[in-house]
Symmetry: C2
Subunit: 167 residues, 2 copies
C-alpha cells in the first residue's frame, strides 16, 4: 500500500532507524522492553518534542505501548514533558544528562532489588541459626556473611558510580 502524495511524517528515515536500533539494544541490556528503547531513541534524535500520537505514527507501535513506555520513561526520569505553547496534548523531550539517566535507573531498578535482597538474606541468617548440626551451621554462617558483604559492597558502589558518571 503505497502512499500517494505523502506530505505527513511517516516511516523513520535511515538515520533515525539506526539511532533507534542503538537504543533498542541499549535498553535490552538493561532488561527493559524494546518499545522503551524505540521511544527514547526517537525522542533523542528529534529536534523538537513529540506527542504520544507522533510516536505511535512514526514508530508504528500501538497507543498502549506508547502510553506505557512513556510512563516508564517518565518514572525513570528519562523523559520530561516539554513546555509547548497552548497545546492540549502533551509533548515529550528526552533527558540527555547521563547522570540523570543512571540515577533514575539505580533508583527505580537497582535499589528496590538490593533492598529486597537484603531482607531475604536477613531471614536466611535467622533460618541458619536454627540448624542443629554445628559444623553445618558454621559453614552456613560463613557463606551468609559473605552474601552480606556482597550486599554492602554493592550498596557502596552505587553512589560512586553516580559520581563518576555525573561530570
Amino acid at each position: 500500500m503505497p502512499h500517494l502524495l505523502d506530505g505527513d511524517q511517516h516511516e523513520l528515515d535511515p538515520l533515525e532507524r539506526q539511532v533507534v536500533a542503538v537504543f533498542v539494544d541499549g535498553v535490552k541490556v538493561l532488561g527493559l522492553p524494546r518499545s522503551i528503547g524505540e521511544i527514547y531513541g526517537l525522542l533523542f534524535i528529534s529536534q523538537s518534542p513529540l506527542s504520544l500520537d507522533d510516536l505511535v505514527l512514526r514508530l508504528q507501535i500501538s497507543k498502549g505501548s506508547a502510553s506505557q513506555g512513556l510512563r516508564a520513561l517518565k518514572s525513570l526520569g528519562a523523559v520530561r514533558e516539554a513546555e509547548v505553547g497552548a497545546e492540549r496534548r502533551t509533548y515529550y523531550e528526552p533527558a540527555i544528562e547521563l547522570k540523570r539517566l543512571v540515577g533514575g535507573f539505580i533508583r527505580e531498578q537497582v535499589r528496590p532489588h538490593l533492598e529486597s535482597g537484603k531482607t531475604k538474606i536477613s531471614r536466611l541468617a535467622e533460618t541458619a541459626q536454627e540448624i542443629d548440626d554445628t559444623a553445618r551451621r558454621e559453614f552456613l554462617g560463613e557463606r551468609i556473611e559473605r552474601l552480606e558483604t556482597w550486599m554492602r559492597s554493592s550498596g557502596k558502589v552505587l553512589p560512586i558510580l553516580q559520581k563518576i558518571l555525573g561530570q
Copy 2:
C-alpha cells in the same frame, strides 16, 4: 508419590530453597535465566562440590538445563571444576569472590555490548555526515557526540567498579 525409605539426596531442605531463591532473584536482575541462579545457589550453599547429576537430581531440572547452565557459569568464571580424587565425572564448586564474579560478568555480558554499541555509533556518525540540511546535521553531530561521551564514561567506570568490589 511419596518415597519409601528415602536414604538418598532429594528435594532441597527449606534453607537450601531460601538460598536458591535469593540467587534466582539475583540472576534475574542481571538478565540471566532462572536455572543459572538455581545451580549457582545450590553450589554456593553446598559444603562439597556437586556433579551435573547431583544438580539434576536435587534441583529437579533437566540434564540439558544443567549442562547449559554450568557452561554459562563456567564462562562467567562463577564456577570451577573441583579436584576430586579419581572420579570419572566432574564436580563443580562456586567461585565466591565478588571481584571474580563481577569481572566475569563485565567481561562476558557488559564489554561485548559496549563494543558493539561503539561500532554502531561510529557508523551513525558517518551516516550523519552525509545529511544535506546543515542545521539538522549540526544537531545530529551534537547528539552523537553525546552518545560517544556516554560510551567513554561507561568504559571508564568499569575498571573502577572492579577495583571497589575487589577488596
